[in-house]
Assembly symmetry: C2
Homo-oligomer: 351 residues x 2
């Protein structure tokens, strides 16, 4: 794989000739060929992608694998702490990690809107490559479509991912057991607040940056250390609350969490108060929860906090033996309330 430094060069498509993406860049003819051969192919260059076939063929280390996908439609495309490119790579890497898989290969499907500045596409492609390098994944197959002006919104990216499952754990909501400790990898809400603030041109005293980050090293760290991980879930759309509700519904156990154990930065809390958001529902792109046996909770927490992206990891609750699909939160003042999924739309297009 080439050095990332190669990508700090200028846009490989001549900007004066093609300042913007045109419909023909998705038409299957010369311009599409040029876009792939000059920009996308070299940016992600590897022996599988270089075959330029309809797909990539490769050997997996084992027969067991994980497969996932997400589309990314975030608005704005660039925000403090990331952009749609890093989000599209980290998001799918994280979904593989939440399956307990080692992320290996990604696909990328670009839906470009006619008129997208070519430089914008180039910045995003470079960001994707850097994120892929950081997680050690290869982008091996892809597709580019262009839709007419006014029928898209600059760029949408789909990534799918394939990862190797190198253990025999069944990491899934149904594996959650009574007594499991629930660990959270760090503070909540920065991604959601960052997107909102950037979109609405709000400024806070301190700049809040998205938590967008790859989580595979942390998740695999738990597994490789012998922690009997029951479930993992990253806290994207719908935030911590929705993740817990979904898991409690699938597992059919009541989950208890404690509000004063859930870390939210002061500036994020302040922004939430001004904007009327609840941090429990805010999207994160670099946070996850892990369900582990009580006896291994301290060890697991120590493993998480040793990671750069997990320094704020903490224990936030427990799975009870009460067989109902319910999440309860004990508030700061000692009251207990039910945590539900939100109705309606809190914050559209945050990922």
């Amino acid at each position: 794989m080439d050095s990332v430094n190669d990508l700090t060069l200028q846009c490989p498509i001549p900007i004066q000739q093609y300042p913007q993406v045109m419909l023909a860049h998705g038409g299957g003819g010369k311009l599409m060929h040029q876009l792939i051969e000059r920009m996308i192919g070299p940016a992600f260059h590897n022996s599988l992608l270089d075959v330029r076939h309809d797909g990539a063929v490769f050997d997996m280390p084992h027969n067991r694998l994980a497969f996932t996908t997400d589309s990314y439609v975030v608005n704005p495309l660039f925000f403090p702490g990331g952009d749609i490119g890093s989000l599209a790579v980290n998001g799918t890497v994280n979904d593989l990690a939440m399956c307990g898989a080692r992320p290996l290969y990604l696909s990328a499907g670009f839906i470009l809107e006619e008129g997208l500045p070519m430089e914008t596409l180039w910045r995003i492609v470079q960001s994707m490559r850097r994120a892929a390098d950081e997680s050690g994944v290869l982008l091996v197959t892809g597709d580019t479509k262009v839709v007419d002006k006014g029928k898209g919104d600059g760029i949408f990216i789909n990534t799918a991912g394939v990862g190797a499952v190198e253990h025999s754990l069944s990491i899934a909501p149904a594996s959650v057991l009574p007594g499991d400790a629930i660990l959270l990898s760090g503070d909540l809400g920065r991604h959601g607040i960052t997107i909102m603030a950037t979109r609405e041109n709000l400024s806070f005293e301190s700049e809040i940056e998205s938590d967008c980050a790859p989580l595979a090293a942390m998740a695999l760290g738990l597994i490789n250390a012998g922690i009997d991980v029951h479930c993992l879930r990253d806290l994207t759309r719908g935030g911590l609350a929705s993740a817990l509700v979904e898991i409690s519904e699938a597992a059919n156990y009541l989950i208890n969490i404690f509000e004063n154990s859930i870390p939210v930065r002061e500036d994020v809390r302040g922004a939430c108060e001004i904007l009327g958001f609840d941090p429990l529902y805010l999207a994160n792109e670099g946070r996850f929860i892990a369900f582990v046996p009580e006896a291994q909770a301290d060890d697991a927490l120590a493993l998480l906090t040793a990671h750069l992206n997990g320094t704020g990891a903490c224990r936030i609750g427990t799975v009870t033996d009460d067989r109902q699909p319910l999440v309860t939160l004990k508030s700061r003042i000692g009251a207990t309330r039910i945590v539900d999924m939100f109705s309606g739309e809190q914050l559209p297009r945050i990922c």
Copy 2:
């Protein structure tokens, strides 16, 4: 897997309450949950999807696999012979088949525009399920995003696919050899003309239907019969001409084709003349070319013509030993011309 007949029921989301897709259907809260639990989950119901995790975990029959992706932005969404749903399944199934793989698992990423009629989504989901059943593939993981009205175009679908490679052939442009016969699986241009006619509300004497069809059975039929397949390529965007140019460039051999051996239906040819299209460049969604050794060409052709989607299969040309990346066409009147990729945009958003 449930019977397809289950899907001819009415839309499982109450239309009176939710006649259209709303932003909240992609927001991670209750409405998104309802859309997945009532419509998408049951429509594609299988044990892997039912886990409702961030991805699917499964065992492959072998370590060697193929991985591919495509996004689908076709306009209009419904057309004679297919719709965006069947296209999204068949297109990715076909890309796997062109890698010589047996298609097994698909992902689906939906990008919905706020305001899309719920019934439209339901029709498309049903069509995807029928197409998946026809090819024996399971949709095992997915994602739904909603963008604000005016920032999309009804629905875009990305599918990625994983298939099993159960042979040791290297099926790729670089495997093409001098003397290879080039087989075409049937007549050209129906998909492109169908999309154009539907979009522009043109009518021809006979209704032209898209050739949209799954190709895996035909491709695997060749391989399983022991044909030493060198390269396979489906003829989507850019048509036969672009596929041949790409392969000749990658293989670095001059390819000769014969115009009078290339089947184009009379109604398609007439439409092309009226509209100013060249059938060589028109998109197909159920046609492919196979590069096979001369000695096996007749056997391979017999295998193709035995299939419903290959009754019109024929031999259209040969790979020469001339080491240049060039495609030449011998015309009906005996003249030879160079076939190039087209510049500009012939027909946007045909897939």
